[in-house]
Symmetry: C2
């Protein structure tokens, strides 16, 4: 797990700005990001001048090896009970908590245990820092992208008519693991023909037949960082409607990627793709945003859609994935990952996508 | 996905008892259990006389095919925004919400949107129904157990010195998928020698050498239901301390399983194992409860530990998994799944566990 103490520095700056004595970090990805810990069921309390790491019996040995610069506390009761004890003991006045990760139940437990502290809901203190990747993270994402790409190249060789979606998904999964992925970044989507009109189809026993397209949306997780790509493969002939839609989606993606650069509002990237798709009459068939940040999570900041308020900065990594979905007929989505650079952007994935290169022999 | 309309009937009975007009169900496993829906990012509002299913553009087509007896609502904004609209329109007075699944942020959104309704935190309305499995669920769990067992038998043939933990974990993963598992039920644990003292060790590049034990904790997910087992394998000789500890754990497990039956307090099952382990001087090295329910989730009700208040009922399915962990030396855990029956219990898993049967050729 890559780690940088500068992440805690940035968070402490945010505490200072918000005049808070500390922040309770319970989102597991944020815990990993800030501590270097690779296990589960743990939480942090980061203060202005230090920090605490809370875990239980099962993870104490592992945490002692992994974490740096934080005091390790082995909880006896619940995580929030242990955190509350520190908050009370240190007489902390204003403490932030992650309102999108803390459940209502945990919130109640906390408020009852520390009636003298002011608990302030916070969204984004850590997510905003995570939005811009440091060098170690970019290397980890690139490695996750390489595994996904090489896995897909090998997977292409196995795609043939007569196989079902699930067998194909397992084949891609296995190839990525053999290349060093811990696991797929998410449940791999392999959607034959009309099933591709569901943007998040789960692989079934549906068999691929000659002349049918198959949409594959996949990624690898490696050292906890993710990649995310989509390609459509064709067996033998390419249906006419799908060819037309494919070319529109591809050009829309090209336009969106061309719009990426530092200080560009994220919604402009979405607009570049959306306007083109709309102009060709498929606006209503493109129902999701054009992209999302990728890092420790497959979906994180920045948000790249029509209502995004994010401004792109060097170090941001996100997907560009326009799509057109035709219920009963099929769907096309083309997805690549980009890194914002000081001068524009770098496309992190380089698999072929020209339509005639997407045909596999039957 | 197995489904029974009786689940909604049971929930409506609970609403009546609690004098509530409805319950917001947002825990994804509960959504699946009550609706038969197999996708993500959806929620329910179950009322006394009906119910609503909320999802978005990506899942509408799938939901329309899968759900029964619920009105399908395609949300435009957030899930909780859409639910709030129905609560307001139907002028519902008292509405339960799942306090362990709803985040503080969602709670705030909801209270602001329906100032005239009383929102009451609830824990367990659905979990308590799920605790007792119906016939379709028991068949699904048995199928998930079969895949895990057959996968492990084939996996044993590949275990040999020179392989690392990760390669072994991938080998077991692949074999279960080839047998029809959707995925492992959780991240497979393969822990060589001293690494087994961490009850939740993640597979590393640590290589298995001659004379070293290896602990494997694994399960399969099939049709959304899970299985969960643990075995320890030995290469060549069995270290003396580990042999002693193994026999204690095995007898503790036998005693715990013998204690299982209808109307038995769950804590008695824990006590049966714990007393025996304590008597042999390893009480402090057994730091977790003896078991947990298994179903749509790998960890669900009933809780089988020293402070559990659950009373066993026919149809409950849970693990029995005592363990002894010796930091720096190693660990032993033996885990099987049991089903409470009207007359006692049925052990759902039947892999060998006699110590001398656990040796693999090197």
């Amino acid at each position: 797990m890559n780690y940088s103490p500068r992440r805690l520095d940035a968070l402490r700056q945010a505490l200072e700005q918000k005049k808070a004595d500390g922040i309770i970090v319970s989102n597991p990805h944020n815990v990993r990001y800030l501590s270097g810990y690779t296990g589960d069921d743990s939480a942090l309390l980061i203060t202005r001048d230090g920090g605490y790491f809370y875990t239980d019996f099962r993870y104490t040995e592992q945490a002692a090896k992994e974490i740096r610069g934080l005091k390790l506390v082995q909880r006896k009761k619940s995580l929030f009970n242990a955190i509350a004890k520190t908050v009370a003991k240190r007489r902390m006045k204003k403490v932030l908590f992650e309102s999108a990760s803390v459940t209502f139940q945990q919130y109640q437990e906390l408020t009852q245990a520390v009636p003298r502290s002011r608990l302030v809901p916070n969204w984004g203190a850590v997510a905003n820092i995570r939005m811009v990747k440091d060098e170690g993270e970019i290397r980890a994402i690139q490695a996750a992208a390489r595994v996904a790409e090489t896995g897909f190249r090998r997977f292409r060789g196995m795609v043939k008519t007569g196989l079902d979606e699930r067998v194909m998904a397992n084949g891609l999964d296995f190839r990525m693991r053999a290349l060093g992925a811990e696991c797929p970044a998410f449940e791999i989507i392999v959607a034959v023909r009309e099933r591709a009109s569901q943007p998040h189809a789960r692989p079934t026993r549906r068999i691929l037949r000659k002349g049918e397209p198959v949409l594959v949306d996949w990624g690898a997780r490696k050292d906890f960082y993710n990649s995310d790509l989509t390609r459509v493969l064709f067996t033998d002939r390419i249906p006419r409607t799908i060819r037309r839609v494919y070319e529109i989606v591809r050009e829309a993606q090209r336009l969106a990627i061309a719009a990426v650069g530092p200080e560009v509002p994220a919604k402009q990237v979405d607009r570049a793709a959306r306007q083109y798709i709309r102009k060709h009459g498929f606006g209503k068939q493109f129902g999701h945003g054009v992209g999302h940040g990728v890092g420790l999570e497959v979906h994180e900041l920045p948000t790249i859609n029509a209502s995004s308020r994010h401004i792109l900065k060097p170090g941001m990594v996100f997907t560009v994935e326009p799509g057109i979905y035709l219920p009963g007929v099929g769907g096309v989505r083309i997805e690549d990952m980009v890194l914002v650079t000081p001068n524009g952007c770098e496309v992190l994935t380089a698999l072929p996508k020209a339509i005639d290169e997407m045909v596999v022999p039957v």
